[in-house]
Amino acid sequence: MSHDSSKWLFLSFAASAVLLGRIIPAACEKNMPQVRGDDVLTQVLGETRLAVSQMLLDKADEYFHGGVRHTDCEHEGTAMDHDEHDQDQDEEECAAHERFDPWRMINRRVHVQEHRHMHGAEATELLPWLWAASHISAENLQALESTAYVLNRMLGNPGAAVELLEQGIAKNPVSAELEFSLGELHLHAFNDVVKAEAAFRSALEKNLLARDASDEDTRLLRLRTLFYLGYLSKLKGDTRGLRQCLREAEELSPQHVCTNDLRKLLEEGASRR
């Protein structure tokens, strides 16, 4: 085949591909598997970014446990918090394996088998991985929440945690989880009941709009949000608001700990009067 005909063949293939790319979405609009508005590249990279972000979050978890992955950890916890009977059993099992497997025996001595937890300022070591996990994919809500937790609780920097959560909310406008975390942060770290209530109200609204309202996690988050809103109503002396929260919580789960706590709050308010 001559060089010219190859060139024309390539160009005609390219033109057909472009043409089909235009015709198919228009002709089969209702049967397209993809979400409209996202091109293929964004969707593919979006998924990859989420996977990479999750890997980085797992790396941060590994650092938190002293460089030990949960899958590699044979003795859960340190000797202090470990059940003595289980430990004896583990050691017997390990000894039985080692009798037949010298390679395993060496590996168990070279590589650390138990884990430990990071405390206080040592948690700075987690930040590079958490930063990368939360910036690579804004859709990784777990990364955003974990990073906010480490910044606030372990490193005493709630300002940075609020900033991160607000950025996360801007990128995930339907996420009730992030609003809830922001509300908790405003309440516990800054004692700012106004901002906390606004965040919890927003979390409740977004939670009600959630696609799968019957999902257990969604229901649990709604109960916890209702508890906080009830608590804030009590602080304001708004018994009606507290009753409303209790009623909604009872509809969701009458025996749940959050519902019981709301009942206690109402009873405390009534006994004081």
Binding site: G66, D72, W103, R109, V112, T124, L164
Partner: protein, 260 residues
């Protein structure tokens, strides 16, 4: 000096000179600098003080570059001699094939170990400047076990260079090295989870393949766990020597039977 030792030394010198003449180490240092320098100045969320991630990445690069240098040097020794036909004048001299093999192996090992020593010295200085801890015991242990890794890897590369083509040798040795470093520790549990044919293949691999993960103390070094017992280090070194000796014996057998 005895003639045999002099012959081996002369052959070894050539391999070391070859590594430094080709400036592999300069390339590796520039690449390492380009990767690591921006990370030293990184302050996530405006908070400085994290150093383990740079230590981990620096050690990962040390492992990667040392494996590349070890395999590259050992896998190149014989194919270049065969291709340029310089093996004929070499064997026409009064040296046995065993001496040539031993000389080449020791040369490749010396070249790889000299590069490794430079890497660890650079890492020790880097960690000392950043953390104020200069060459702790665990770093020495990591270096000692890493030298055992180089003993095995160069022996594997040399064996492969006599049995396979250069590209196949590098690919197979590379896959084996990475595979064993990543999955070596988990092979028994992976085997236990497989159905029967796969199970026996993985168990065979567990018993026969080189357990290169024995030599990897990065986890202890980065996360400041206590050093390993010297008895364990001795056992790991013994394993490395036995494995390398087995590879070299097989290589000697192939080289002796090889017709040019």
């Amino acid at each position: 000096m005895k003639p045999l030792a002099r012959q081996i030394l002369a052959l070894s010198r050539l391999a070391v000179l070859d590594l430094y003449r080709r400036k592999d180490i300069v390339v590796v240092f520039v690449l390492g600098g380009v990767i690591l320098t921006p990370l030293f100045f990184f302050t996530p969320f405006g908070m400085s003080g994290a150093s383990r991630y740079t230590n981990e990445l620096a050690l990962l690069l040390v492992w990667l570059f040392s494996a590349v240098i070890g395999l590259g040097v050992s896998a190149r020794l014989f194919p270049t001699e065969f291709e340029s036909r310089t093996i004929y004048p070499l064997l026409s001299k009064p040296v046995s094939r065993g001496t040539v093999l031993a000389g080449k192996y020791l040369g490749a090992l010396a070249a790889a170990l000299s590069a490794l020593a430079v890497f660890y010295a650079a890492y020790g200085v880097l960690a000392g400047v950043r953390q104020g801890v200069w060459f702790p015991l665990i770093l020495w242990q990591a270096f000692i076990l890493h030298t055992a890794f180089m003993i095995v890897v160069t022996a594997l590369g040399l064996l492969g260079s006599l049995a396979l083509t250069a590209s196949a040798n590098l690919t197979l040795c590379g896959l084996l090295t990475v595979g064993m470093l990543v999955f070596g520790q988990r092979l028994p549990s992976l085997a236990a989870a497989q159905p029967v044919p796969g199970k026996w293949v993985l168990y065979a691999l567990h018993w026969i393949a080189p357990h290169l993960e024995f030599f990897d103390l990065r986890q202890r070094l980065v996360h400041e766990w206590p050093p390993v017992g010297w008895g364990v280090c001795g056992a790991v070194w013994l394993y490395a020597l036995c494995y390398a000796a087995a590879c070299l014996a097989l290589a000697a057998l192939i080289f002796r039977r090889k017709k040019f």
